[in-house]
Amino acid sequence: MTLPAPAETSRRSMIARRAFLLLLVLFVLLVPIPSFHTPRTHEITIDAAQYEFSPARLNVNRGDTVQVTLVASDVVHGFYLDGYEIDSRVEPGVAEQFTFAADRPGKFRYRCSVACGSLHPFMTGELVVGPNEPFWRAGALALIAVGATLLSVRKRRSA
């Protein structure tokens, strides 16, 4: 903006900028992110011990099937998967099995659900169902937020 614009034009251009910003945010929130993976089945053995799950991080893709064999190697533990609300209790010597479809993208922590000692509340692992849409969308929104805030001032200044 080089010339001081009449108030009416300025208001209209501001409305246009806001509409554009809104569209951009909606786009970032809603644009479908394609997954190029053919669904497969993961057979995973998760070992629970004070105070960690191994593996502590699982990467699968949306549409995959996950077959979990849960074992405990010291004391009784549990396995709760955020978002999928799977809960299982496992005793040393008696493995547990369950299967679920990874149909929600994002990061979901699994946590010990049976108190197992002092660090029990922090006995966690994480399942990442890719592509990790929530993370990329939130990151993009952060960039837009900073950019838009900086730009809004610049426009006002020069206008």
Binding site: Y51, K107, F122, P134, A138, L143, V146, V153, R156
Partner: protein
């Protein structure tokens, strides 16, 4: 439609809260208000200590852990501090025994013990609070998982408060020592509530200064603050004494624009305060990484399972909070400052811009606390019926199992909170920048690296919670 730079520098739209709520006003103005609040909260406090010392070592079944580190912490960080600022300091039972001994009375002081000494000038800043917080933070994994340790910390804080109250005047403990009070004060500057004088000129003209000396209606400010010059929430403990003592009816509690204290010109800003903001932001990143992250070894170090491991953790923790994060922030500020043409010393800019970290830091703490509370809040039901894990069932909820609430939605909620904090922080940085430099895009240029620093911190947090 106003954007931020069109706003006049003095805040508008303040509303006197108590004038609209005469009932609340009567309660707050009563001399019994603070002592009774403290007494009422002393009850769960004592129960928390008793449970911690005598109850089950299983933290999730012990009132002393569940109602302190899950319920109180979440209520404090998610509701009280962002919504009502220092309101916790109004009702906190920790300084109560010390204050009552000092005053020789609960409702109204008897014979004064003797005038306490003044806190040494050198320590009249936040450094003791910073050090205290860092010390607690270094052991926090142990404190918040072991009921007996937690009880010892509560006793220790109360004992320190008593000792400080015996040696020094008034609420020296709260103002300069309490490690919790430090960050509550810092983040209370975001709150939409403030205690201020209606018209500073009234105070200037009013000779007797009852708010400092006290009178038959109340004590002189226990926090050693002169309300007439109060322009930020940082040091005001909301004890409400000045509302009672002011004979000019000049003290009010205002509803205001959130964060109004952050960007206003305040020559009093010092580096201790800047470090408070930096330490708190750094901790808000370290905590979710250590406690919620998938790195079990780090958790064991933090929990002092081995002394060597803890030393590594302590060194890394102190380096991150005191050197790395402040250093990076210094670089960001210095870089922006250089291009802005401002003639302020970089040190001043550093102290000012640190206030742009406060909204994001608070948001990160809210995100952390929301996650922890949603995950473990259900433990409260069990411990209310069986506070010591002794097999009681007082209200029939002893066997309610552990159920995380909203476990699928939590990351989205956390992301939204973090994004809110980022926008708030960037806007604060811009306000500070525009006020500093020569008017024009120079201020913007000065603030841009700070905004980039905020963005980087946010992306790191988003990665921890969502990535």
């Amino acid at each position: 439609m106003k954007t931020l730079i069109d706003r006049p520098p003095t805040d508008d739209g303040r509303r006197d809260v108590l004038a609209r709520m005469p009932r609340l006003r009567r309660i707050v103005l009563s001399r019994a208000f603070q002592p009774v609040s403290m007494l009422l909260l002393l009850a769960p406090f004592v129960l928390a200590v008793v449970a911690g010392l005598l109850g089950t070592p299983a933290g999730n079944r012990n009132f002393g852990i569940v109602f302190v580190w899950i319920v109180w912490w979440a209520v404090l960080m998610v509701l009280l501090v962002p919504g009502l600022g220092r309101i916790w300091c109004t009702v906190c039972p920790i300084p109560a025994p010390g204050e009552w001994i000092q005053r020789r009375g609960i409702m109204r002081g008897g014979a004064k013990l003797r005038t306490g000494r003044r806190w040494p000038r050198r320590l009249r800043n936040m450094w003791v609070q910073n050090a205290g917080f860092l010390t607690l933070a270094l052991f926090s994994t142990v404190i918040l998982t072991r009921p007996s340790v937690s009880a010892v910390v509560l006793i220790g804080l109360t004992g320190t408060a008593v000792a400080v109250s015996l040696l020094f005047e008034k609420r020296t403990f709260c103002r300069y020592v309490c490690p919790i009070g430090g960050f509550i004060g810092l983040y209370s500057m975001v709150a939409p509530i403030e205690l201020r004088v209606r018209d500073p000129q009234v105070c200037v003209d009013h000779r007797s200064k009852d708010c400092i000396t006290g009178n038959e209606y109340g004590y002189g400010c226990p926090w050693m603050v002169y309300p007439g010059k109060l322009d930020r929430n940082l040091d005001c403990g909301l004890c409400t004494e000045c509302l009672r003592t002011c004979t000019m009816d000049n003290v009010v509690i205002n509803l205001r624009r959130p964060g109004a204290d952050l960007a206003k010109p305040a020559p009093g800003r010092r580096i201790d305060e800047a470090f408070k903001a930096l330490i708190m932001l750094a901790c808000s990143i370290i905590y979710p990484a250590v406690l919620f992250g998938p790195w079990a070894t780090v958790k064991e170090w933090a929990a002092v399972e081995s002394f060597g491991g803890w030393l590594i953790y302590a060194a890394a923790f102190l380096a991150a909070t005191l050197v790395v994060v402040p250093g990076l922030f210094w670089l960001a500020v210095a870089w922006g400052h250089k291009g802005s043409g401002s003639d302020l010393p970089v040190r001043r800019a550093f102290n000012d811009y640190a206030h742009a970290l406060i909204p994001l830091g608070l948001a990160a703490w809210i995100a952390f606390s929301v996650g922890f509370a949603l995950t473990n809040g259900s433990y409260a039901l069990g411990t209310i019926s069986d506070p010591l894990g002794w097999g009681w069932d007082l209200v029939g909820t002893a066997d309610v199992g552990w159920t995380p609430y909203l476990s699928g939605a939590a990351p989205t909620i956390q992301a939204a909170i973090l994004l809110g904090g980022l926008i708030f922080g960037v806007r604060t940085a811009l306000r500070i920048g525009l006020r500093h430099g020569p008017p024009g895009p120079a201020g913007l240029r000065a603030a841009a690296p700070v905004a980039a620093f905020l963005l980087a911190a946010t992306l790191l947090l988003l990665w921890l919670y969502l990535g």
